[in-house]
């Protein structure tokens, strides 16, 4: 009896602890969301002056901010597609074939993961400056694909670990071409790994501050625009956009995690 009581106490203490950690994680986000509804009109936009949607209206007029967000989306989409294609075929090739220099590639893949982002940022900056690659969307794509590729490869590779090669061999034995085998046998098996890698790449690209900071030229991404406005005191329309982004991503997660999409698809069939 006493033991049960102690156990229950332990459990609620654990729950309280976890609650506090989550509070720590979400506290600044709550600040951002609340401030986005703040009716204040004077700098530094901090004291609470009542509830309003005014900043969401302001956001629609702030074309520079919206443009930067558009840049971020384009950059993330292009980088995700490129790094997913390059990473996926690389992971498959490294899994299937033995060749010289494989361990070198393996080691090189960890460099963008482990070295501080600032080092990758300045290294790319010096390269772009020297070989005269104009800094802008193109250089940003190069930079983002570079730090996304390893994560795609790791994700796909994790999926390959449990992969049965005989499936592919059977397909080829039956006279199906290599390319067709890849698209009909290999790809479907790897799909979850590829999806996970692509999602991670997208997240990394959208969130990147440091590498973009050094490689952007005049093309401002959303984080860079935020950095700019922090220096002049963030206007709550930045908070408003952040809040909207948060809502969209949370909705996305809830929909995918709860299997709602799957259920909807089933109903259609």
């Amino acid at each position: 009896m006493r033991r049960k009581k102690a156990e229950r106490l332990c459990r609620s203490a654990g729950a309280v602890y976890c609650g506090l950690v989550y509070a720590f994680l979400f506290l600044p986000i709550v600040v951002v969301v609340v401030n986005s509804f703040n009716a204040t009109k004077s700098k530094p936009y901090l004291s609470w002056k009542g509830f309003s949607f005014a900043w969401y209206g302001k956001l629609l007029q702030n074309t520079a901010l919206l443009d930067s967000f558009k840049n971020t989306l384009i950059l993330a989409a292009v980088s995700t597609i490129l790094s997913t294609i390059i990473g996926t075929i690389a992971a498959v090739g490294m899994f299937k074939y033995r060749f010289r220099g494989k361990s070198v590639i393996d080691a090189l893949l960890y460099i963008p993961v482990v070295i501080p982002e600032i080092v990758l940022g300045i290294a790319l900056l010096t390269l772009f400056a020297t070989v005269n690659i104009p800094r802008g969307m193109l250089s940003l794509v190069f930079a983002h694909v570079t730090f996304c590729i390893p994560f795609v490869i790791f994700n796909v590779r994790a999926r390959l670990d449990g992969y049965d090669k005989s499936l592919e061999e059977a397909s080829m034995d039956l006279g199906v071409g290599r390319l067709k085998t890849f698209f009909h046998i290999t790809l479907p098996v790897l799909a979850p790994g590829i999806g996970g890698g692509a999602l991670l790449a997208f997240t990394l690209s959208i969130d990147d501050v440091i590498v973009s900071y050094f490689t952007n030229g005049q093309t401002k991404t959303f984080p860079l625009k935020v950095m700019e406005s922090i220096k002049s005191g963030v206007a709550p329309d930045v908070n408003a956009l952040s809040t909207l982004i948060l809502i969209v991503t949370v909705l996305f997660v809830v929909l995918t995690q709860s299997g709602l999409i799957r259920r909807l698809r089933h109903r259609k069939i």
């Binding site: 654990g14 602890y17 976890c18 950690v21 720590f24 994680l25 979400f26 506290l27 600044p28 986000i29 709550v30 600040v31 951002v32 530094p44 901090l46 390059i86 075929i89 690389a90 090739g93 490294m94 299937k96 074939y97 060749f99 590639i105 090189l108 960890y110 460099i111 963008p112 993961v113 070295i115 501080p116 982002e117 600032i118 080092v119 990758l120 300045i122 290294a123 010096t126 390269l127 020297t130 190069f142 694909v145 570079t146 590729i149 390893p150 790791f154 061999e169 959208i206 969130d207 501050v209 900071y213 050094f214 984080p223 935020v226 950095m227 922090i230 952040s242 982004i245 949370v250 995690q257």
Partner: protein, 288 residues
């Protein structure tokens, strides 16, 4: 026969591994080599890089002012790592021990803050801790203090910010390591009369130490470079090595010196990773 063909052909290797090799060569190897070379270069009076061999950049690293910043940066990274570990270990343990359905949800709750840009979250902290922020307003409303307290623009704020931004990087490897733990082992240990503490030190910790190591690496190394956290929360009073590098490549414009600083950062990183591997750490668990 087809099996033989499968393995020996070079064309598929070129097609599959060629692009990634080129990419890594061009955007990782060459730039880093170039930084290495640049760290031995000089600059002319217009701050242009001149290819003239010098060790001055490395000599300048020993400047007392810089030495102070390295020490401060390492201190900040160290405390951020300790905070993440102490806060994160019990947390990862608790969430990995809940029911399956709830576990995914709790895990997602750690990831979701990631999707609000880290700059914005750091700015959220600045708003919260500022002179007219919620914390000071609360303290003043409770009459715990008469005038706003300075929570910002010091080392404490920077450590908090680093720990905050990098916390998930500690929790995720810990979570993975703890999840692999066999719950029956804990029961056996308890049944054999071991107290909670003994079970932890002898059963739980040895099996999750890889997670601890990779978590520490994933927090410590980045916090040497996250200059914007030190900028926004430290306000120039608690610069890290990243701030020094950033300044060389922006306003200071002494690229070769910035390159030398970066080489030091790379050296520290390699050293830590080697140490990590020596302790039996698996590189794969560093990839999040």
């Amino acid at each position: 026969m087809s099996k033989h063909k499968f393995r020996s052909s070079t064309l598929p290797v070129l097609i599959t591994v060629g692009p990634v090799s080129l990419w890594l060569a061009f955007f990782v190897v060459i730039p880093l080599l170039y930084v290495f070379i640049m760290s031995f270069c000089s600059i002319d009076e217009n701050y242009n890089v001149v290819f003239q061999f010098t060790l001055d950049n490395y000599r300048n690293l020993m400047d007392v002012n810089y030495l102070q910043i390295y020490a401060q940066s390492i201190l900040i990274a160290f405390f951020a790592t300790v905070i993440c570990l102490v806060l994160g270990y019990p947390f990862a343990f608790l969430i990995s021990r809940t029911f399956r359905s709830r576990k995914t949800f709790l895990y997602m709750l750690v990831i979701i803050p990631f999707w609000t840009n880290s700059l914005i979250r750091i700015y959220g902290w600045r708003t919260f801790l500022g002179a007219s922020g919620w914390l000071n307003q609360t303290l003043m409303a409770l009459h715990l203090t008469d005038s706003p307290m300075d929570f910002l623009f010091n080392r404490f704020a920077t450590i908090l910010g680093m720990a905050y931004v990098l916390f998930p990087f500690m929790v995720l490897p810990l979570y993975t390591a703890i999840e692999k733990l066999d719950p029956s082992q804990l029961e056996v240990s308890a049944d054999l009369g071991a107290r909670g503490g003994a079970t932890f030190w002898n059963v739980v910790l040895p099996q999750t130490v890889s997670g601890v190591f990779s978590g520490c690496i994933m927090v410590f190394i980045p916090s040497l470079g996250y200059f914007y956290v030190a900028d926004i929360l430290g306000g120039g009073n608690s610069d890290v090595i990243g701030n020094l590098i950033e300044r060389q490549f922006q306003s200071g414009n002494n690229w070769p010196f910035g390159a030398a600083l970066s080489i030091i950062l790379i050296a520290v990183t390699l050293l830590l990773v080697k140490l990590y591997q020596k302790c039996g750490g698996d590189m794969q668990s560093l990839g999040v």
